[in-house]
């Protein structure tokens, strides 16, 4: 077989990340350079992201029969680089850590960026593991702290179980179709020669494995504990990047293997409808009772996974486009919310609701920023979160799925309840300690950088939605 080296060019972002990873390893060993590791990680990720962006939108093709090079993959490459860049900035503003920490973040970015193009069961599995393993270590990066260790252990154990489940599903799929290549599996499906029940079981198991990654009910149990225990920058990273990776995998699987009109004899959109309704309702209801803000945001991120699943329930181009758009918006607002929690908890020592009491008077800028992020999470216009939800609900109603849309909007009202609880605590209550809470300039600039896209995309989002629409062109046989 000829070895088309030119295909390697399509992997330039990944190659940059690999070289960067090795360089970071070496830097970690040289004591005087070690402090610059964070900056170096930023440069590497930015370079990879920019290179991926220059490839946009590119041509769609399958490389080595295992990897799709298409706008969809490029979109997610840029997304993951951006998400990791924000995580690195967040960590730089938040705490001092080893160079190893940044090494793991870059490694995770590498895994995610490969995952975005995986066109083969084995590559998909490997890349999911490449994302997960650094995550397990990152969750436990506070070595001395019990909660961090507990979080890491829980993450590993739940992760191992779900990986096993997914692998079992993949093996069933391989057994049924005799192939790991998505194209061949799809062709096999379309011929309709396999037993529908086994096929359903295989897909269900794979979906369960991915459902764990995106914290879909009923595979969400790990989420609050891990989010609470892990260091806040890592929690924020988990809530955005690996979750988006899960959605990327889910999107590719659904679109490639479960094409519309043919659903392997099973009503997949119905399955997603149920999962979506359960996920957002449970996430929102559980969030109401939370006193710890990291836990609250963990449940809120479960609820948001539910909103995102609405796009899958709609199973239309508009729905998938809405998912991509919502992920971009979600990146900014969720990072922002976690960043504020981190700022406050670093000063107060914990992240309980009462630590935020009177924050509006102690740190007006930070509190105002937090309100913007929270209102955007609720989905109030004219913020970007509203536009995201608008597209998701629109996609549902376009498909005539009004009941799920009604469940979705009612969930928004429920979510308003606990988000407003935070805002109430910040602005409508007097502070326990009437001393100003000071924040650094760097943190303020980062907050502003996260806020601006939320405002801009709330008013002028046409280019972004156009990108999301263009990105939704996958390689199909």
């Amino acid at each position: 077989m000829p070895f088309p080296l030119s295909h390697l060019l399509h992997f330039t972002p990944e190659l940059i990340l690999i070289v960067g990873f090795v360089v970071l390893m070496i830097v970690d060993l040289i004591r005087p350079l070690r402090r610059a590791a964070g900056i170096l990680a930023l440069v590497i990720l930015a370079a990879a992201g920019v290179v991926a962006m220059f490839g946009w939108p590119g041509t769609s093709q399958t490389i080595f029969a295992t990897y799709s090079h298409d706008p969809f993959a490029l979109f997610f490459k840029v997304f993951f680089c951006l998400a990791t860049i924000v995580a690195v900035l967040f960590s730089l503003a938040s705490f001092k850590t080893d160079a190893e920490y940044y090494l793991l973040l870059v490694g995770s970015a590498l895994g995610m960026s490969l995952l975005s193009g995986a066109h083969d069961l084995i590559l998909l599995f490997l890349t999911i593991e490449m994302v997960s393993i650094p995550s397990y270590i990152l969750a436990g990066v506070y070595r001395g702290q019990r909660s961090s260790g507990e979080a890491a252990l829980k993450y590993v154990l739940y992760g191992a179980v779900s990986t096993g489940v997914m692998l079992f599903g993949m093996s069933l799929l391989y057994g049924l179709t005799g192939s790991t290549d998505f194209d061949l599996i799809r062709n096999h499906f379309l011929q309709g020669s396999s037993s529908p029940i086994t096929l359903f079981l295989a897909m269900l198991l794979i979906l369960a494995g991915i459902g764990y990654k995106v914290a879909m009910v009923p595979f969400h149990f790990w989420c609050p504990d891990v989010y609470e225990g892990a260091p806040t920058p890592i929690t924020a990273f988990f809530s955005v990047a690996p979750k988006a990776a899960g959605f990327a995998a889910l999107l590719r699987l659904t679109v490639t293997l479960l094409p519309r009109g043919w659903e392997a004899g099973w009503d997949w959109p119905m399955l997603f409808t149920l999962a979506s309704a359960a996920t957002m309702t449970l996430g929102n209801l559980a969030a109401i009772a939370q006193q710890n803000l990291k836990r609250l945001l963990a449940y809120s991120s479960i609820a948001h996974a539910g909103y995102l699943l609405m796009g899958f329930a709609a199973a239309s181009d508009l729905g998938f486009q809405a998912v991509l758009f919502y992920l971009i918006v979600y990146l900014f607002m969720n990072y922002g919310a976690f960043f504020v929690v981190d700022i406050v908890s670093r000063k107060e020592g914990s992240e309980l609701l009462r630590d935020f009491r009177g924050l509006g008077y102690r740190a007006p800028y930070v509190a105002a920023a937090f309100s913007i992020f929270l209102f955007s999470l609720v989905g109030l216009p004219p913020l970007a979160g509203f536009i995201g939800k608008f597209y998701l609900f629109g996609a549902l109603i376009d498909q005539g799925m009004v009941p799920l849309a009604v469940i979705g909007v009612l969930n928004s009202v429920v979510s308003l309840w606990y988000y407003v609880k935070i805002i109430r605590e910040m602005f409508l209550r007097d502070p326990l300690k009437p001393v100003p809470l000071l924040t650094g300039v760097g943190a303020k600039v980062l907050l502003l950088a996260l806020m601006i896209p939320i405002f801009v995309m709330g008013v002028y989002w046409s280019p972004i939605i156009a990108v999301a629409g263009e990105a939704f062109q996958l390689v199909l046989p």
């Binding site: 070895f3 080296l5 090795v22 390893m25 070496i26 060993l29």
Partner: protein, 118 residues
């Protein structure tokens, strides 16, 4: 086929009865001489020490993981060596890059003290 079916069932029954009977007979008639040495777990001829659930140093895991990495690397090297002629320079360079990355990893592991056995 139907004619032979009762015979098949009978064969199964006979087999079951015989097996159960032998098991029962050994319980009743077999000599029983318990001995502490017989209760010990047998591990390659050495005598077991302590509980099986005792924690042992994490260094084992680290060494084990490093071993796994190089074990798999060898698995790659064999087919590469066999096809070395056909792969030409491209194959050589790719493998060298692969090995270089592994070497950096090994060097990293050494410098981070993975092999220091304190």
């Amino acid at each position: 086929m139907n004619d032979n079916f009762p015979i098949l069932i009978l064969l199964f029954l006979v087999a079951a009865v015989v097996v159960l009977a032998f098991l029962a007979l050994t319980v009743f008639f077999g000599p029983k001489r318990p001995n502490p040495d017989k209760g010990l777990p047998f591990e390659c001829g050495t005598v077991g020490v302590g509980d099986a659930r005792a924690p042992f140093p994490i260094k084992y895991y680290l060494a084990g993981i490093i071993f796994a990495v190089f074990d798999v690397e060898l698995a790659f090297l064999y087919p590469w060596a066999v096809a070395f002629r056909d792969l030409r320079l491209v194959g050589f360079v790719s493998m060298m890059i692969f090995l270089a990355i592994l070497a950096v990893g090994l060097y990293y592991a050494v410098r981070r003290g993975v092999f220091e056995w304190k």
